[in-house]
């Protein structure tokens, strides 16, 4: 670690890990309610638990992105972060806003658009946090060297900030509401977040493989190009059944089918670069997360997305457990795993130790990933059955839910495995290794 201000990443990663644990515990409770519907039903109903589950996910991923940026930007720009003080204020304000939101949810203080349930003042705080952050990183970049990685990263982060502003527009017309709601949700996760993902991936590959930056950065532009060329009009796959014009069924089907390609390119790119590796980097765990990220994001976002993205198929599967299966593996493969990759890579540097507890970290990779993959299979099976019984045969919703109860039991089982894997990851990240405690350098 060459620059002092890279240490700013540390609090962000710690908070990310804390919220990650909260997120999976929320998921565990939600999964439990699916099989024991009376569990907590009077105290903390399902809708509250689910808000905590999804919001904690989004906030910890953002914490991770902020931390990743503070970690990698000084090395890329070859200069210190413009204002460490601002980064600290940003951190505490964000943590405070996020914690207040979660506590508020428990007491029924929330708004009611999915994922944007934060009360107005929290939304405003998020914008202030994002603007502080953008000012800080933009100033850093202006002072330093501009590489393709930092330009792609900052483009993604500016996009993230600007598209969040649509969270403040909530028209009374439900169809309009939904159309602009996707400007935040889709253009985040199937748009600008992919730029952030690609930039972190590129940075890690340069550091760990020693392959020429020129090759990696050229690939990155191709990947993010594919992502946005397909992803922008790919938003159309959310505009089939919400009152938007019929041409979206064509545009959405075609362009969102193409959304598979940036993820395919990422897999080929990562494995190709690693094969060309000129360096035997000691942090095997981080490399495992990097490669795993490309593979599972290809399956979760790419393949599982494609599975139900064509309009004639989506007509039947829309709003079933199919959507849920895709959502879980896509978020895990793409954004959870890239965060865990950069955390696995950066934490030993931040804590001034050699890569430690690598075996435990790699165990957590296999346990968590197996759990998520199995969860995806159970939800997919549930969704296929649900689609057939409810949407083709016309059975009543609740009767169908009873028919697929077995899969909810298996989902709970896989959820327990995921929680164990996550706890192991946190332990491996923060505990001291028995042997390898030597200072770096």
């Amino acid at each position: 670690m060459k620059y002092q201000t890279q240490k700013l990443a540390y609090p962000y990663f710690v908070a990310a890990m804390g919220l990650f644990v909260a997120q999976v515990l929320g998921g565990l409770i939600a999964g439990t309610i699916y099989v024991f519907p009376n569990f907590l039903s009077e105290l903390v109903p399902f809708n509250i638990i689910r808000m905590i589950h999804t919001n904690a996910l989004i906030v910890w991923l953002l914490m991770g992105f902020f931390g990743a940026t503070y970690y990698l930007l000084p090395e890329e720009a070859e200069t210190e972060i413009y204002s460490p003080k601002l980064a600290w204020i940003q951190f505490w304000l964000f943590l405070f806003a996020a914690a207040s939101a979660v506590v508020g949810y428990l007491f029924g203080v929330h708004e009611g658009r999915e994922f944007l349930e934060q009360p107005l003042w929290v939304k405003i705080a998020i914008v202030i946090v994002a603007l502080m952050f953008m000012f800080n990183v933009s100033m850093t970049l202006l002072r330093g060297k501009r590489t393709a990685i930092s330009i792609i990263l900052i483009t993604g982060l500016w996009g993230l900030t600007l598209f969040f502003l649509f969270a403040f527009y909530n028209p009374s017309n439900l169809s309009l509401d939904k159309m602009y709601w996707w400007y935040v949700i889709h253009l985040w996760v199937e748009g600008v977040w992919e730029l952030i993902l690609a930039a972190i991936l590129g940075f890690l590959l340069i550091k760990m493989t020693g392959v020429d930056r020129e090759i990696i950065e050229k690939w990155l532009y191709v990947i993010v190009g594919l992502a946005l060329f397909s992803g922008l009009l790919g938003t159309g796959h959310h505009y089939y059944w919400i009152g938007t014009p019929g041409y979206w069924q064509w545009l959405g089907s075609i362009f969102s089918a193409l959304e598979v390609f940036p993820f395919l390119a990422m897999v080929i790119f990562a494995f190709y670069i690693v094969r060309k590796s000129t360096r035997n980097h000691p942090n095997k765990a981080a490399l495992l997360w990097v490669l795993g990220c490309t593979v599972l994001s290809f399956f979760g976002a790419g393949v599982w997305g494609f599975m139900h993205t064509l309009a004639p198929i989506n007509f039947y599967t829309h709003g079933t457990q199919i959507t849920s299966s895709h959502g879980h593996l896509a978020f895990y493969g793409a954004y959870v795993m890239i965060n865990l990759a950069i955390i696995s890579y950066a934490m030993p540097h931040l804590r001034g130790m050699q890569p430690y507890n690598q075996n435990l970290n790699m165990w957590s990779f296999w346990i968590t990933s197996s759990g998520m993959v199995f969860m995806t299979f159970t939800l997919t099976a549930a969704g296929v059955l649900q689609t057939h019984l409810e949407r083709v045969l016309g059975m009543n919703y609740m009767d169908v839910q009873e028919q697929i109860a077995l899969f909810y039991w298996m989902r709970l089982g896989s959820g327990i495995v995921v929680v164990i894997g996550v706890l192991l990851f946190v332990y491996a990240t923060f505990a001291k290794g028995k042997e390898e405690q030597a200072e770096i350098r």
Binding site: I33, Y34, P37, N38, S41, E42, P45, F46, N47, I48, R50, M51, H110, E111, G112, R113, E114, E117, A148, I151, S172, N173, L174, S175, L176, D177, K178, M179, K218, W219, Y221, V222, V224, G225, L228, F229, L232, L233, Y239, Y240, W241, I242, G243, T244, P245, W248, Q249, L251, F315, Y316, H318, G319, T323, R391, V392, G394, N396, Y397, M398, Q401
Partner: protein
């Protein structure tokens, strides 16, 4: 691999292409906005009661169990056409009463059944929520969902 293009060319294609597709996307959004307001939804009946009803729907975070137009959580039934399911399309007064009675009976507390919380809505809120569901049930969703509940 991909030695064919230079990094600068790749960058220019990325930024140029992104701007190109974003402009198309925004243009189609503008058209879709017009389409929603004038064609697929009934703007003339979008009154204060419907707007307040949407707020009731949001304030109680209904979307984190139910779906509406297929979006939301998948823990409880779709409500886009609940107005029709409750008979409101033929007899609005009955639709309102069924909706209100249903919500007031919650939670059932029956062991092994999913529980909908008691939201303690006022009469005005019940009225507004019904107006919202009535308005929503008439949006042109291109035939979705495939089959109305029962």
């Amino acid at each position: 691999m991909s030695e064919g293009i230079t990094k600068t060319a790749a960058r220019n294609i990325f930024f140029g292409g992104t701007i190109f597709f974003f402009v198309i996307f925004v243009a189609l959004t503008v058209h879709s906005h017009w389409y929603i307001v004038n064609v697929s939804t009934d703007s003339s009946t979008l009154n204060d009661s419907v707007a307040r009803g949407k707020h009731v729907w949001e304030k109680n975070s209904c979307i984190n169990c139910h779906t509406i137009f297929g979006e939301g959580a998948y823990f409880a039934p779709e409500v886009g056409k609940v107005w029709i399911k409750f008979g409101g399309a033929d007899d609005p007064e009955m639709g309102k009463e069924v909706l209100k009675a249903w919500m007031e009976a919650m939670p059932t507390g029956i062991e092994g059944r999913r529980q909908m919380p008691q939201f303690n809505l006022t009469d005005q809120e019940h009225e507004d929520l019904a107006a919202f569901f009535e308005w929503v049930s008439r949006v042109d969703t291109k035939g979705w969902p495939p089959q109305p509940d029962e």
